[in-house]
Symmetry: C2
Subunit: 419 residues, 2 copies
């Protein structure tokens, strides 16, 4: 079988499985997930051994420490994965929900019902826990899923696939419900992107170049986010102590993730007071600052000069751009020009400024007086997330299990026809 | 300015306009729409004259009668367009809606708020009324829109653009809120499809080849539907008189549209009774039938033999494929194999069969005992529609004004940070 035939076969097998998984009861789906969680625990040694093959190879190939960290799956990590499966199982079933039915003037009763999307494909890089998270989320939402992990994680993914297959087989679920691609040929991705009419949604997770490649070549619907250039704006009426807390937490709590702040905007009225205190905290935390001319005047030491490129930069590191703005309007204009529609927060005691910011800034999460780090499905009460979308289509912000469904229209009549 | 620069400029002008139109009040948007409706009425003669240029040229070029019909805008048609604008103005404003706010354990109050998508592009073929419908729907939902009509309708579209521009200018709305592309160069479409990061949604309306071209080449998000291969299934427990009504209405009420039925499935238990009566009605209506072997046995005359290709065909004409199925399961399997996820109806007096059909068939509208012709935003109570999506993403079925918005997440805190 060549790659084209292989990928076509994956698609057909997935489509065939949607008939079963798409109408499986919550109990049936939860039973599969319970077995999956149990098997992950039972097979910890085998999965660890497979992961060691991957990490050994990666070490030989000289992968970066960050990449190694993403690739490594410890026994604790496997146990956390099993817990995540249990948590997904405990989520309400998103399929089959019906809202209110309304009656049209001709007596037709119309409404909507949530159904699975159908066949979902994930293309992701080294982190092998996506294999289990995505499988569990798709099963729970009644979708068939095709998983294409990074080549560095192939052994781990195949070990995880064995566990998934066993869980499906134990409950007589068609194996097409979850398929892990077992060849690393790049052409597989190319072919997946062309499976129009078969793949209902493709979700790429990984670096910007992967996501851009997918977006530029896909003929199937794609949900994605490129980057998070998130802003903290300290308003003139901010509680400055709160501002220090929120700015520091937004940046240094976990600097390598998409909801970490990348630019701090400070209202000119409070900059003289705020910036020296912030610079001192930054110095203690090992955070490097790149300031505008006015910031540099206020904090002449411990800050380097920002260039135009800094304002749009997603550092994902212990670096923060700092800019003094003349007023609220300039802060919002700056966010519009350089932001990525991901997450922005305003720190202010002026309620009307907070409400105005919420109304005028159109990012996937807009906050008043809280850290940007809350842009996360779990933190917002949505349960497990499959990613954070910055596309303003279908999902904007954390994509939860609900976003793996869509509403179809339904209608009950007693002979209605169009006049 | 070359085409690339021209299209880039369109995008920048549209983006700039989103700041105004995206936060305009309902009153401000409705005032623009009222002026637009009035100007359409006032300028009926000028618009008609421009349309005559287009129809004269089309007649010379030998366009088909169907195309001529789509292209022609009579004074009555212009009056209907003005009424449509008034109706869109009367719809509830979809922007700024907030659902329930919930409180997280840390005290953060979280919720969602609907916002415009931003910049929408429409690419459509000869029908010039889309120019006004799309402009009005986008304005009402706070979006900027770029409109690319068919080259056959250029004069009409430019006359309509003049009216739109005047309505915007009268209310000091930036002209970038609605831009009608005034050159017919094909490269414009190519460039529009690449305006990633600027166009939030592109909607193609037209023939299958246009939509396929857009889908295969777009780097911006696209919502589309290819075709409607809609089914009427006459169950063994059908009220046959109702079945005759629904099958005929689904097919002949307006055979050239996407929600018209293309295949009739009849349960074997009732085929002997139903099919001769249906064939007689079809003959009277001038409807041609293409039957399976079993249908041909029952109705030996007035029906030709269907081939495999007929089952997936969107005739958009007075032709209907007819197939006898052994049971309910075979009907659903046939729809799964050959349907286009658009619209299917079951005719049955057995309530459980109806509910099962509603649950198991995942088309954008699934009906019990009613005509497929109800798959329409107006008929389903959603107000004006911008198209019918068969993509299971963002919108599945009629796309109403709500689908030109997305929900962002919002959060109010008092200093919350991630631990």
């Amino acid at each position: 079988m060549n790659v084209t035939e292989y990928v076509k076969h994956l698609g057909q097998t997935a489509t065939a499985a949607t008939v079963y998984i798409g109408s499986a009861s919550s109990a049936a789906k939860n039973a599969i997930l319970a077995t999956l969680a149990q098997l992950l625990r039972d097979e910890t040694a085998a999965i660890s051994a497979a992961n060691k093959l991957d990490t050994d190879q990666a070490a030989k190939a000289g992968l970066s420490a960050a990449m190694m960290d993403r690739l490594t799956l410890t026994p604790d990590g496997i146990s956390a994965l099993a817990r995540a499966v249990d948590e997904i199982s405990a989520l309400p079933d998103p399929v089959g929900k019906m809202g209110e039915m309304t009656v049209r003037p001709n007596g037709l009763r119309v409404g909507q019902m949530s159904i699975p999307l159908g066949v979902i494909a994930f293309i992701y890089e080294s982190r092998p826990n996506v294999t289990i998270d995505a499988a569990a989320l798709c099963l729970k939402s009644g979708n068939a899923v095709i998983l294409r992990g990074g080549k560095e994680a192939l052994n781990t993914n195949l070990a995880l696939a064995k566990v998934i297959d066993a869980a499906l087989a134990h409950h007589n679920c068609p194996p097409g419900a979850v398929q892990v691609i077992n060849i690393t040929d790049r052409e597989v991705v190319e072919q997946l992107l062309k499976l129009e009419g078969t793949i209902d949604l493709l979700i790429p997770r990984g670096g910007e170049s992967l996501i851009r490649y997918v977006n530029d070549n896909a003929r199937v619907p794609v949900l994605k986010h490129y980057k998070g250039v998130c802003h903290v704006y300290i308003d003139k009426d901010a509680d400055l102590a709160m501002g220090l807390d929120i700015a520091m937490n937004s940046k240094v709590h976990r600097p390598g993730v998409c909801n970490a702040a990348e630019t701090l905007l400070v209202h000119a009225d409070v900059a003289d007071d705020f910036l020296p205190r912030f610079a001192s905290l930054a110095r203690d935390a090992g955070l490097k600052l790149r300031g505008c001319a006015q910031s540099l005047e206020i904090v002449p030491e411990g800050m380097t000069a920002a260039t135009e490129a800094d304002w749009g930069e997603e550092y994902l590191a212990m670096i923060l751009a700092v800019k003094v703005v003349e007023d609220y309007a300039q802060a919002v204009a700056h966010i519009r020009q350089y932001g990525s529609d991901h997450t922005e927060t305003i720190v202010t005691e002026d309620e009307s400024a907070g409400l105005r910011f919420i109304g005028e800034v159109h990012s996937s999460l807009v906050l008043v007086n809280a850290s940007t780090r809350f842009n996360d499905g779990g933190q917002l009460g949505m349960g497990a997330e499959i990613g954070i979308s910055t596309s303003k289509l279908h999902a904007f912000g954390p994509m939860g299990i609900e976003h793996l469904t869509i509403k179809k229209h339904i209608a009950f009549g007693n002979g209605q026809v169009r006049e």
